[in-house]
């Protein structure tokens, strides 16, 4: 009985294994740039860069430390006058096209852009009989 009660208490006492450093986030990770135009550019870019740890989230959404460091880097480079496309290309050079949610149009990504048009065309083709009957 005592053992059964002690186990959850011991769990409470055990420290969780942390997978994060104990340092505070980078200065610009969660602080907006003073210039609203630059901040808007940085925010738009951050929403289309993928976090390398929590892979379904953008770095704007992710709480992972490395995402914070990526946000800080994006803000710092934007504030130095770099344009967002340069930063995106820099990221793609290192992590591949995987890193961007806004992939450039190329042979490999063409299907992403063309598929909606094909599906729309197919849908219209399927529905054509219905429209004809209605018109009669």
């Amino acid at each position: 009985m005592i053992r059964q009660a002690a186990f959850p208490l011991l769990l409470l006492a055990a420290g969780p294994a942390l997978a994060d450093s104990s340092l505070p986030p980078a200065r610009l990770a969660d602080t907006q740039l003073p210039d609203p135009k630059q901040e808007a550019k940085a925010a738009a870019l951050m929403e289309t860069l993928r976090c390398v740890v929590c892979q379904g989230q953008s770095i704007a959404d992710s709480d992972a430390e490395i995402a914070g460091d990526m946000r800080a880097m994006v803000r710092e480079r934007i504030s130095r006058g770099e344009n967002p496309d340069q930063i995106r290309v820099w990221m793609i050079e290192r992590y591949g096209e995987w890193i961007t949610y806004d992939p450039p149009l190329s042979g490999r990504t063409a299907i992403l852009w063309i598929a909606p048009l094909l599906l729309l065309g197919g849908g219209l083709w399927l529905a054509r009989g219905r429209f004809r009957r209605r018109a009669r």
């Binding site: 994060d20 740890v53 490395i66 460091d69 800080a72 290192r94 591949g96």
Partner: protein, 176 residues
């Protein structure tokens, strides 16, 4: 109805969809992100010492003729503890290992190395993961094999296990 087989198309499409989903559930996609810089020159960087026991690290240290390991670690990283004895073993075999400590305080680095051993020649401090991002690395621990001309030849994502040691030695030999 003229073409009764048409009726089966929706079911066939459903079965196809179901099959694709089931396949990915059983075989999840590989979530390891490899650096695209393998085969390219190490990016330029200069990092201050991570603690006072070893000098800092710059990219200039690498293009000096001999292949080296560049280990990305942190005192707060648990797999790094598991990896430490394997790095010691590589170091004992004469492999030159440099390191980058990610988001770490000097005292924490010193305590980590005191507990787990210090196989490193130089250790640079990367406080905001800048060099880590420049390397296309996505976590700790990771280990890069850099050849004598400063070209990244191999990237190992995750901790080096006992079984990986011969492979790492082989990669170093190939980089020679």
């Amino acid at each position: 109805m003229k073409r009764p087989w048409l009726l089966w198309i929706p079911l066939a499409l459903f079965a196809l969809f179901f099959g694709v989903v089931a396949y990915r559930l059983v075989n999840p996609a590989d979530s390891v992100i490899e650096s695209r810089l393998v085969g390219k020159q190490l990016p330029q960087f200069t990092l201050p010492p991570a603690y006072d026991g070893r000098p800092g690290l710059s990219s200039a240290e690498f293009a000096k003729g001999e292949p080296r390991l560049l280990n990305i670690f942190a005192s707060w990283c648990l797999p790094c503890i598991a990896e430490a004895p394997m790095l010691e073993r590589l170091s004992a075999q004469g492999v030159a290992i440099d390191a980058i400590a990610i988001r770490d305080r000097p005292a924490d680095v010193a305590a980590f190395l005191g507990r787990n051993g210090n196989p490193y020649r130089r250790i640079g401090a990367d406080m905001e993961s800048r060099v880590q991002l420049a390397l296309g690395s996505s976590g700790v621990p990771e280990t890069f094999v850099i050849d004598g001309k400063g070209v990244i030849r191999y990237q190992h994502v995750g901790d080096i296990r006992e079984d990986d040691v011969p492979m790492i030695l082989e990669q170093l030999r190939k980089a020679r």
